[in-house]
């Protein structure tokens, strides 16, 4: 499922066949599964199957002359279903996307702004870097900030930008602070020193920006002594696990959900307040399809007393992307201008069809996207979007 990092490091469209990952492209049988499963396949002039055939015929330039690849939301669906096991998302499509962005006369404004902000402020929203740790003051439970208290720590919690600044994201932060404290985990955050992990930059194939952020974060992380990184953002998880590694970063990195699994028994004993909700869980692309964590989020939800889990039609490996990945978070206006339906709107219809009260998620992008989609669907009072950690915290009596 996951490409060999050593192999894809520094690979270009010219050298792609020199790697065994790249050679897989030669085995494409043109079955069209990638196109059929691509959430934006209908809107691409050159969807993945055609890109492969164009590439094989030396016509890759023609593909990057169009905006086809800008529509890729890095959802890994084509890769997950490819019968030839071609690492489309990780290897081929990113290279085409890089070329596409280079050739575009102007980037869509919203994306342009997000990238600029990330560069200047270390977060895509353009918030002040000095306010990054402000949320800590609102937490009922203590959160140690390394820059103020730099001693060794077991878990370095990489908060990331959405959770740090966005109000609903801060809810998840407080939930995590509570869970960590209750589980007696030795943890700390970087605080204002932290900057976006750079995954959004990477997925939009703004390599220079991504490298700047990676260099910065690696140097900051190098100042402190810790054993592992935990983050609630699957995109940061991917950035650390697949990109930072290429730049020599070695520490283990976990997403909060699988990280909590070894504490399952202890955690479950603390979940005493019943939450009598019907819940449907949306598999995040990065957490699920890319990293294979399908059972863990469901196990944690099922640990909460009172919760009844119902599934949407598309779940686990067949889940539909919320549309936020690959820079999609800042392309909604652009997509709309192309008459494309928002993926979060499509997804929310399936969620509503389950009749669930709560749409549980495991990625900070999903909360704002789905909350907005619920509003558009006129459903904002009937269904609530919540991160799994929020539900865990809610069930945990103080």
């Amino acid at each position: 499922m996951i490409a060999d990092l050593e192999e894809i490091k520094g690979v270009t469209l010219e050298t792609i066949y020199e790697t065994s990952e790249g050679k897989l492209i030669l085995t494409c049988i043109q079955c069209g599964t990638c196109v059929g499963t691509c959430p934006h396949g209908e809107y691409m002039k050159y969807p993945p199957r055609r890109i492969i055939e164009m590439l094989l015929h030396g016509l890759a330039d023609k593909v990057s002359d169009t905006d086809s690849m800008l529509k890729c939301v890095n959802c890994y669906a084509c890769m997950a279903k490819c019968p030839r096991g071609i690492h489309l998302t990780e290897v081929l499509l990113q290279l085409i996307k890089e070329q596409t962005i280079l050739k575009l006369p102007t980037l869509p404004a919203e994306l342009q702004k997000a990238l600029e902000n990330s560069y200047r402020y270390g977060n895509p929203m353009g918030e002040s870097g000095r306010k990054r740790a402000n949320w800590v003051a609102t937490s009922k439970y203590p959160v140690r900030i390394l820059s103020q208290n730099p001693g060794p720590v077991d878990v370095l919690w990489f908060v990331e930008s959405y959770p740090a600044y966005y109000p609903r994201g801060q809810d998840t932060c407080r939930a995590i602070a509570k869970i960590f404290n209750r589980l007696e985990i030795d943890f700390a955050i970087l605080g204002n020193e932290e900057r976006s992990a750079g995954e959004c930059g990477l997925l939009a194939w703004e390599t220079g920006l991504a490298e700047a952020l990676i260099d910065y974060n690696i140097s900051i992380l190098g100042k402190y002594t810790f054993n592992k990184i935990v983050t609630s953002d699957p995109h940061a998880l991917d950035a650390f696990n697949y990109r930072y590694r290429m730049y020599g970063f070695k520490k283990p990195v976990y997403h909060i959900i699988p990280f909590l699994m070894p504490y399952y028994d202890k955690l479950k004993s603390m979940l005493t307040r019943p939450l009598n909700y019907s819940v449907t869980y949306h598999d995040s692309c990065c957490l699920g399809r890319h990293n294979g964590f399908f059972d863990e989020p469901r196990a944690l939800l099922n640990a909460i007393p009172g919760i009844k889990l119902v599934e949407m039609f598309h779940h686990r490996i067949n889940s539909i992307c919320c549309g936020g990945g690959g820079g999609g978070m800042w392309l909604d206006t652009y997509f709309k201008s192309q008459n494309m339906e928002r993926l979060s709107d499509i997804r929310i219809r399936e969620a509503i069809a389950t009749g669930a009260d709560i749409l549980a998620v495991g990625c900070p992008y999903e909360i704002p996207r789905f909350e907005d989609a619920l509003k558009v669907a006129g459903y904002e009072n009937k269904m609530v979007v919540k991160d799994i950690v929020e539900l865990l915290s809610e069930s945990m009596e103080d």
Binding site: I29, Q30, C31, G32, T33, C34, V35, G36, T37, G41, E42, P47, R49, R50, K81, C82, P83, R84, G85, F313, H314, R316, I317, N318, R349, E350, A353
Partner: protein, 670 residues
């Protein structure tokens, strides 16, 4: 060192084969010939275009006679292919055939290397090794093992049935062992067969009855082979016969007991109909079952579960055939040859969750549809969905689980054609719109492509694109349809087709227990789990174990005509052995040098065949040549070097080591 015989008069002939250009294009044949001619004791060194041809063999024979050669080395292909050929050629010229040694210059050299220099160097090293080795060869006699004339056929599908009948008609006694209560296998489940559309039952049932009635066939259904011992010609086989709880000799097949069962309706999963219908605890798998004997399923029968059944079945059975006390029996038989025809299983489509099998009731497997179409099936041939309605649109999805790295990588060969056949039958019975979603249509074989074209003419739709997603239609006026989403790759558009029924054309795969069966019979499996034939072209039904043959889909997916042809071939191979009466086996057995043995007993526990025993009177170890299979493990482990393996003597291998390493050459170099 032990005395290796009189080496003075050794006269070696060396020959290298060009194999057309197969060897000669990579290996510098001339250089090897020249090199070999200079080695000690080599009298003649030649090359020839095709050594295995008659003139090639005659060349050797002429040299043996005229030049008095007494050792022959041929560098050609793998010994698996032509060692016998050259041994025979040598022996026809009056030389003991074991004075021959072969060098593998093709499969393990010219075909696997690109650089002619390195290939030639390798060939020279291996030729040197063979020439050094052959000096130590001894004249040996081939052992003859008598062949027990009885045959065991494992598996009662069409392959096993055909093989058994062929052998029985030739007058041989056959044991046919089938795991299920009836023979017939998968073919009995089918409705019609492609491309002729004749009814499977019509052509299969007469053969099934013939098996039952044949005086030379012992048919054991509901039975499993649980142990195999021995070797070609003399296998000892253990068969477990599971209790049916019916006295087979008394049951007359009236089926009154089924009628009389306390369960008025079927309540339990009907294996033969894949759960599309329900059966009672007392049942027959299908109306044409052979033997027509009922079975009682102890898992569901009230008598077995609580012991408190009214036993209405017993009351009604006039011949008093029902016997709840029946126990399993173990039969032990001796046979000379074995035909494995254990068949296949179908791919479990739940492994591809996005096709919704098991989630959406209207997603069926092709095998389930075979049962639906079949007049003796759960709906008496009516094509109706689980809610009783008749589908108006049907999608058939090809290649389910096949050609896919995530599931099975191979093409199952039969799915295209059976999908096309099902499309025809479904259209004929329902007049529904039929969409075939395919990656490639593969219709090789006699009348097969013609069949495909005919079906196109019938108006069946073919869409080139692998289905990416199946989900319920939730559009306005939601109708319970399923949306099949794929890219129509020829048009270049994504299509979403709402259909009433989805048929998954699941591929064929090895049975789940293929590995256990393989171990039991000591045959080999490919990584996929299909049994490997000895040679894909020249020995397609043989295995690497002498006396065991393959027939049908256990060797790889194939259709009915190919299965029957292979079953016939397997039967013919067995017949050849039986009618020859014996088999010559390699004399590579080990023997103890009695004078030298100290009787330390180290070797005795190492032999898996208990061929080594301790002679209490002499206080020495003794190897029973008949039981020895010639692995050489005891030889390697004998601490005083007192066991010798024919064909693989220590000195023979030591001289090969010296040869491949060009040992003296290195010394000169220093």
């Amino acid at each position: 060192m032990t005395n290796q015989g009189n080496n003075k008069d050794i006269r070696i002939g060396f020959y290298i084969c060009h194999c057309g250009t197969n060897i000669a294009s990579t290996v510098d044949v001339q250089k090897v010939v020249e090199f070999a001619s200079k080695l000690p004791k080599v009298v003649v060194s030649r090359d020839y275009k095709y050594m295995c041809s008659d003139p090639g063999q005659e060349l050797i024979q002429k040299d043996i006679k005229e030049l008095g050669l007494n050792r022959i080395v041929v560098a050609a292909c793998s010994p698996f292919l032509h060692e016998k050929t050259f041994r025979n050629a040598s022996s026809q010229a009056g030389l003991n055939q074991f004075y021959f040694q072969m060098v593998n210059t093709r499969e393990q050299n010219s075909w696997v290397h690109l650089d002619p220099y390195a290939s030639t160097e390798k060939a020279i090293d291996l030729v040197r090794a063979a020439i050094y080795r052959v000096v130590y060869h001894k004249p040996l006699e081939q052992k003859r093992v008598p062949i027990h004339p009885d045959v065991l056929v494992v598996g009662g599908g069409i392959a096993g049935i055909h093989a058994a009948l062929t052998l029985a008609n030739a007058g041989k006694k056959v044991y046919l062992v089938e795991r299920e209560p009836s023979i017939g296998g998968h073919m009995a489940m089918f409705d019609k067969t492609f491309p002729t559309l004749d009814c499977a039952a019509c052509i299969l049932t007469p053969k099934m009855t013939a098996v039952k009635n044949h005086p030379n066939i012992t048919l054991w259904t509901y039975s499993e082979v649980i142990g195999v011992d021995g070797y070609v010609g003399n296998f000892k086989v253990k068969v477990r016969r599971k209790p049916r709880y019916i006295n087979e000799d008394l049951c007359i097949g009236c089926l009154d007991c089924i009628e009389a069962c306390v369960y008025k309706e079927g309540r339990f999963y009907d294996e033969f109909n894949l759960g599309l219908s329900k059966r009672k605890p007392v049942y027959i798998p299908f109306p044409q079952a052979v033997p027509l004997l009922v079975v009682i399923d102890p898992e569901t029968c009230i008598q077995f579960k609580s012991g408190k059944c009214k036993q209405t079945c017993v009351e009604v059975c006039e011949p008093n055939a029902i016997d709840f006390t029946q126990k399993e029996r173990i039969e032990e038989i001796e046979v000379g040859t074995i035909i494995i025809a254990t068949g296949f299983q179908t791919f479990d489509p739940k492994k591809i969750p996005y096709y919704g099998y098991g989630t959406y009731p209207n997603v069926y497997t092709a095998l389930e549809v075979e049962r639906l179409i079949n007049a003796s099936g759960p709906t008496q041939g009516q094509i109706v969905l689980r809610d009783g309605t008749r589908p108006k649109s049907i999608a058939i999805i090809h290649c389910v689980g096949s050609r896919d790295k995530n599931t099975n990588q191979w093409c199952s060969r039969v799915c295209c054609l059976y999908s096309i056949k099902l499309a025809h039958l479904l259209k004929e019975r329902t007049e529904a719109e039929i969409y075939n979603f395919y990656i490639d249509i593969r219709t090789p074989g006699k009348m097969m492509d013609e069949f495909f074209i005919r079906m196109k003419e019938e108006g069946i739709k073919f869409i080139r694109g692998r289905v990416a997603d199946i989900y319920p239609d939730t559009s306005n006026g939601c109708c319970g349809k399923l949306v099949v989403k794929a890219e129509d790759t020829l048009v270049g558009e994504i299509i979403k087709v709402p259909v009433d029924m989805v048929v998954l054309s699941i591929g064929l795969e090895p049975r789940a227990d293929a590995q256990e069966i393989r171990r039991m019979f000591n045959i080999t499996c490919s990584t996929e789990g299909f049994y490997i034939e000895r040679h894909p072209k020249l020995a397609p039904v043989n295995t690497f174990t002498d006396g065991i043959f393959l027939a049908g889909c256990c060797q790889g997916p194939k259709d009915i005509p190919d299965t029957v042809a292979q079953a016939g071939a397997a039967a013919a191979e067995a017949l050849t052995l039986i009618d020859t009466g014996y088999i010559e086996i390699e004399p590579n057995t080990a023997f103890v040098l009695e004078d030298d043995c100290s009787g330390c007993k180290s070797c005795i526990p190492l032999c898996p065949y208990t061929a080594i025993s301790f002679l209490e009177d002499k206080k020495k170890a003794f190897i029973n040549e008949v039981l020895c299979k010639g692995c050489g493990t005891c030889v390697a482990a004998c601490p005083s070097g007192s066991i010798v393996q024919n064909l693989f003597e220590d000195e023979e291998i030591f001289s090969e080591i010296v040869g491949v390493l060009n040992y003296t050459y290195h010394e000169e170099e220093v």
